[in-house]
Amino acid sequence: MWTRGVRINHPSIAASVLEENAAAVMAPPFTPYTFIQCPCSDSSTFNRRSPPSTPTTHHHHSDNDDNDDDDDDEHPFDPRAPRSNYSLYPLEYLLYCEDCHQIRCPRCVAEEIVTYYCPSCLFEVPSSNLKSEGNRCTRSCFQCPVCIGPLSVTSLESHPDPNTLPVPDNPSAAPHGGPYILICSHCAWSSTEVGIQFDKPNSIHAQLAKLRNGGNPRMTAKERKERRKDLAQSLGSSYSSSSASGYTGYFADELDLDLDLETQFSNLKLFYQSQLANANTGGVGSGSSASGSGAGGAFGDLGFTSPTSLSRILNIYTSASSQDKKAKSRIGTMREALDSDEGLKIANLDESEAIAKLHAEGHPGTVSTSQLLNQTPQLHLGEPHLHGRSRFASELRPIPYLLRTKRSKRCPICRHIISKPEAKVLTTRFRIRLVAGSYIPSITIRPLSLPNASTPDPSALRPSKPAQFVLTFKNPIFEPVKITLATPALTPGRFPSKVTVLCPQFDIDANTDVWDEVLKDGDKRRKKGESMDSASGAGGVGGGQHQHQPAAGKIWERGRNWVSIVVEVVPASLRKPSQDEMPVLKEDEDLLEIPMFVRIEWETDAMGDEVGAVSGKDRDLPKLKRELAYWCVLGLGRVSDQG
């Protein structure tokens, strides 16, 4: 939940480049952004096996020689490589382990579930129900299969009052008797469109499970058996069920066609279980095997049958893989299923009916890809295989809400909890939440607009025109930190831009109490002013009046717990020097993104929580040196394509 307040970082691109090299549409104003690469992706196991770079990127690398030089040791991080999309996170998504002094991203935390709940009715679901009832709300919470809006139960008899809002979770709100339907208040889809009505206004989930689209009730296993018996009798008693394959051809067709997936699955399961039980008794022919095999057979017999105490104990104390390796030689004798009671189903390949329906209903009668994707296979368990018919709007099923979880997160290494929400569904508070933002410096970016600058729109970067940006590092911790920055001189990618960090090394003061700042204000101001004066030699540092010029090695501005520095970029031209034509740009290829390696050093008191880490000889040192290093990506702006 702590991810809610994240701003949208990328502006949209309004189909900027059209087919014939058309004029660029003005993009909305660009907001600079920062992404941080979690250090865990370096030690990822994939690195050692995957090739260093794809041939295509390699080709681009050869364009700029600087990158090739340090290829052998460590690759400069390429934010544009497709893989880096998987390791970059906004600062707000990152957590921090206080004990390991390391950033933890969603990929490198161990999660534990605190609560399961339905996001619609906000009822907590006990974890034991999950195994039996699945991952969806089993009350009356449904999503519209067309627009995924919430569905509400309404009586079909009385037209619902349009003024009262439908209450999805309160069945008693449906006032009248009679058949009930599910209706979407957003797109006006109702379950009558798929021919489904309910007798009761509550426990819709259970009622829906027994209904097929069109309103036909599902045949239960018992009914199927009785039906089959009836049919067999009606055909005459001469066909005994033992000569099964003889009679299946005659009349089982109807039952076959009706065999829904769930029943087929359970029939098959039963069939295989009985076959395995038979096989396990070594073909002696004794039907019951539950008690015999566990004691009589070798270890391999365990697990096929009901869990005897022996097998249970063995399964618990042996390695996890052991149950899996059953004696596979034993399952050699198994016949195949012969009729629909054993799970065999003859396919009906005649789809002319569905084709005719397609011709009649056309495009509007079918569902879109996204609607189809929401129809997970679970929803259609009550029907025979749909195959091509799944495309029809008449086959849509209401979607029961997926349950959600509240999770607490642990550091995978030291197992300390780094995030723990309140167990109650309705509270959004956290008991523990160590967000990285309160441990590592935040970076904000703004274009440097000098008074005499001529560019009207500073966010539009012009090729080959130097542009300057102010990076402000804000230190959240209560120790002064030393920051070292490193960037490749040329950004990776097809269009390398030149990057110069004017002041790659600086200190930031500690994040002291705000009131301290006010009290010491005058003092500090004076100091800072002096240092600035002596350092840059330029004019005074009036609040906001930047009359000094950015210079190499100099801090631009400094505050209580923040420091601003200047980065100068020379954006590359998006045109190749040889040809005048614009090359086809991939999405975001005109974005100027700077990979930057940030190294933070600070000293902490070796105290309390680090007892484990500090050995005896360190204890006499008053301070303990810490460091943290990671790659981050600064998105500065879009390079305009003219000029």
Binding site: I113, L261, L268, L276, D324, L358
Partner: protein, 541 residues
Amino acid sequence: MRPITSTFASPSSLRAEEDIILIEFGTRKLLVGFAGDAAPRGAIWFGPEQQRRVGDFRAWQSDYHPDWRNGASGDQWGRDYELWRSDVRDLDLGLVGDKIERALRDAFTKYLLIDSRPRRIACVIPSGLSIPLLSVTLDSLFGRFQSPTVSLLSPPVSLAIGAGVRSALVIDLGWAETVVTAVYEYREVQCNRSIRGGRMLTEQTHRFLAKHLPHNQKKPETENPDESQEYVLSFEECEEITMRLAWCKPHPTSATAKPAEGLSTVEEHDESDDRRPSSATEQPVFAAIPLKSTSPPVTLELSYNLLTEPCENTFFDSRYSPASFDDHELPLHLLVYRCLLQLPVDVRSMCMSRIIFAGGCANVLGLQGRIFDEVSQIVRERCWDPVTGKVLEQKRGNLEQMKQKARARLAGSGPAGATAQPGAGEQDGVWHDAANIKPEVDPVDEQLKKRGDQLPQDQGELRAIESIGAWSGASIISHLKIAAVATVDRDLWQQQGAAGASKPGEVDPKMQQRQSLGAGGFMRGAGAGHNPWTLGTWGAY
């Protein structure tokens, strides 16, 4: 990340391990669920939205239009929607691993609602998957998800089990390719492939729609359709139209009626003639297809008869003679026929009456029936003769004449000789009378007979059966705790990688089982050097 060995973990983690997570890997999607369930709990489709950075919500902005045009140069159209390609030469394997990881993480969080304790995993994974891709998959399962063991299951066998049969001909109409696999006694005995699959169908749909766009119709039609590599429609849209409207004409000579009913061909012919004029020919129905990704948006009016064109071109391509196809692009009916033809007679007779259609393109209306009918027709025309051609037909005619002459000659020599001769004896006496040969003993059948079970009787005629799907079949396998041939242990994999795998034949399953049972978690590390394990069929590629 520190591995947490199950031996030292708390009892609660043991409980967690009882659920086996079952994952079916496909080129386009992952199906994820728990073993023992009838259906997967969720499906994750791969797409460009999945590949964005975390916190990049631009797709939700109302004025955002995916910039598909610039990414679609050449071969890249729609590649973002795939997990992998079988051509791994310029595939970033690390990226594949990242995609798998993110998809699984999403699925675990959204659909399975599980925490990150290590769990056993069973994978239904294409048996033709190359070692690099398999390694990447296993790496991410072991590395990121800390799974103690991963078992590999092959989709055709799972499909056969999901249909309740021991042998089957599995026609997997997949995305990248169509794979026809003959499964005999739960073993994949033969596998034929063709690139005619979902991707080709979507590309053909694109070509077809592009051809009918108003501004393209004015242009003189380029006669070489394979040249047009410029994409004017987004992949998403083409795929959606394929999903919605693609259908396949029934076979021209025979209706889709089941052959088991024994209708004569004449009747069937009439029936189909009756049906079609009413729906298609007399009053050609037009489908309105709204297209948004063209500039400007346009609505095409096309008749349904025309709409079968992409399907026709993709799967059957009857414009060209059968001889003009390369091995990798055989039309499906020929592919199925060839697969059956290459099988030994016994296996063929079992497989041909257990045809299972699976895969995404099985959703194309009428396609299954059409393939079935096409194959039946080939069988009717050519029987099981690998040799075709005009000369052969001539020779056949001659042979028939000779037979008749011979029969006429033999007619005098007595009734006994006449009944014994046809179909035998002509080939220099090498072929013996088939009726007198003792059939080979099938040990499984023998055992079943002893047990007094009924034996399957459907053999030798084409018949299609329905499977509950590869995922659900695998769910039964895992639920019944049937051992997978390839079960990979985490420690061994991380020590040895794919190179440490032995050939399937070299691994004694009993030996493996005894070791791990007896020694528990402690000895496994020590005995790792001489404890063979295998990747099964996956190691062969």
